[in-house]
């Protein structure tokens, strides 16, 4: 009899701990969510929406944009992303140009992501163990996206620790870095028409895709 009581007591205690832990975890998550945990949480949330949201599945653009704006974008550092893609040209841009470049680049990436999101259905994500020391402020979070009947595609996020949490500043899909890819494209545009030329191309591209 005593043993049963003991088990029940322990069970109650554990349940109590678990409940307390659940109540605490949102606060903890805000304070110090590790970069790999962040990538895992966000990608699971987005995949869940893609799998279950009828509007997303129907290709509703407004809804897809909303998902990307609310779920994905807060976790990206677009200023750093844009400055890396600009390379040495970033310093020659005025603060106003830098701001507009960041805005246009952000819009372009949202549109690209919207198109890509539509293609997801049965994918599963495999999260690789994080190789980092506790003091690191820069890490690469490695994942692999698998689909039945296809080779898994590695997707790696380069992340930096900021005051308000870890932010991604580059994504590499199957070894192709987004930032590196755009660096040549931006450079070519700047050589042809200066930074204003690049801005004009980006704006036209964003409008053209929107019209499609």
């Amino acid at each position: 009899m005593t043993s049963l009581t003991a088990i029940l007591c322990r069970f109650a205690a554990l349940a109590g701990f678990a409940a307390a832990g659940l109540a605490l975890s949102p606060a903890l998550a805000l304070a110090q969510e590790a970069p790999d945990a962040l990538v895992k949480r966000v990608s699971q949330e987005v995949l869940q929406i893609v799998r279950t949201d009828p509007l997303v599945q129907a290709g509703n653009e407004a809804r897809i944009h909303e998902v990307i704006e609310v779920k994905l974008l807060p976790n990206f550092d677009f200023v750093r992303m844009t400055s890396l893609a600009m390379g040495r040209n970033w310093r020659t841009a005025t603060p106003e140009q830098q701001q507009r470049l960041t805005q246009e680049f952000r819009t372009l990436l949202v549109r690209t992501y919207s198109g890509a999101l539509n293609q997801y259905r049965n994918e599963t994500v495999d999260y690789k163990p994080l190789r980092a020391s506790p003091g690191d402020t820069e890490v690469v979070v490695r994942t692999a996206v698998a689909k039945p009947g296809a080779t898994p595609v590695p997707i790696d996020y380069s992340m930096e620790k900021k005051a308000d949490g870890w932010k991604a500043y580059d994504v590499a899909v199957a070894g192709v870095s987004l930032v590196t890819n755009y660096r040549d494209e931006f450079n070519a545009q700047i050589q042809a028409g200066g930074i204003d030329g690049l801005l004009k191309t980006l704006a036209a591209k964003n409008k053209g895709v929107a019209a499609k």
């Binding site: 009947g149 898994p152 070894g175 192709v176 040549d184 494209e185 070519a188």
Partner: protein
């Protein structure tokens, strides 16, 4: 020597010759000294691909049941796995080569000649070695970037690798020409269909499709040659 092979050799000879002449008046970057010629080839490709190959691939996806397409894709992957194994051996990557040959044995015997992929189900991962990577691993220079209409982005070393693959490929040794050509055709549609998603992303993402595809290709190849761990690229000044 069959006709397809001769045609391929002729194509490469023409490309190489053109490359020599184009090299005299180069304006492109270090990785792409033949940019003017490549861009012209790219334009040709865009027209043919956009009007013929892409619609065929799209129709294939739209009308052929997914299960059947998966079987086709597995069938060709099985041949790729065999060559991945050969190239693993040529680079002394014995464990990877073992996995690749293991896959070929399992899938050929228990997957109805490679139509099914039980090897993946039991957790033997696919390799992706090829002759272009082997030659680069051996220290041969990558050479200028090439855009070959209907074949897409390549480099001198990768195009050479593809040629070796075509010469040695099992499909080329099929004596019955209609069957051989059908298999070539189906293989092409299978590959093009697999790239449909990527092409629609490039449409949205690229400011300049030619540059976007070139840079993606070169980054990807570098990643593969270094088995997913490329050293950081030197900053171009």
């Amino acid at each position: 020597m069959n006709a397809a092979l001769r045609a391929a050799v002729r194509t490469v000879a023409v490309v190489a010759a053109t490359a020599l002449f184009a090299g005299c008046a180069t304006t492109g970057s270090k990785v792409d000294p033949l940019e003017p010629m490549n861009r012209a080839m790219f334009e040709v490709h865009e027209v043919v691909d956009g009007n013929v190959m892409r619609p065929i691939a799209q129709a294939y996806v739209d009308y052929v049941p997914e299960l059947l397409r998966l079987g086709v894709s597995n069938f060709y992957s099985n041949i790729d796995d065999f060559f991945s194994g050969i190239n693993g051996l040529l680079q002394g990557k014995l464990e990877k080569a073992g996995d690749d040959f293991g896959r070929v044995v399992v899938n050929s015997l228990f997957g109805l000649g490679g139509i099914f992929d039980p090897a993946s189900d039991i957790g033997i991962e696919r390799g992706n070695e090829d002759f272009g990577q082997t030659f680069t691993y051996w220290g041969l220079p990558v050479g200028p970037y090439l855009f070959v209409p209907l074949f897409g982005p390549s480099t001198v070393v990768d195009a050479s690798g593809d040629l070796v693959r075509i010469v040695w490929g099992p499909v080329g040794s099929i004596p019955y020409v209609p069957l051989r050509n059908s298999l070539y055709g189906l293989g092409y549609v299978n590959l093009r269909a697999a790239a449909l998603g990527a092409s629609s992303i490039v449409d949205t993402a690229a400011l300049d499709r030619y540059l976007f595809i070139r840079n993606s290709y070169l980054q990807r190849r570098r990643y593969l040659v270094y088995d997913g761990k490329p050293p950081p690229e030197p900053e171009e000044e």
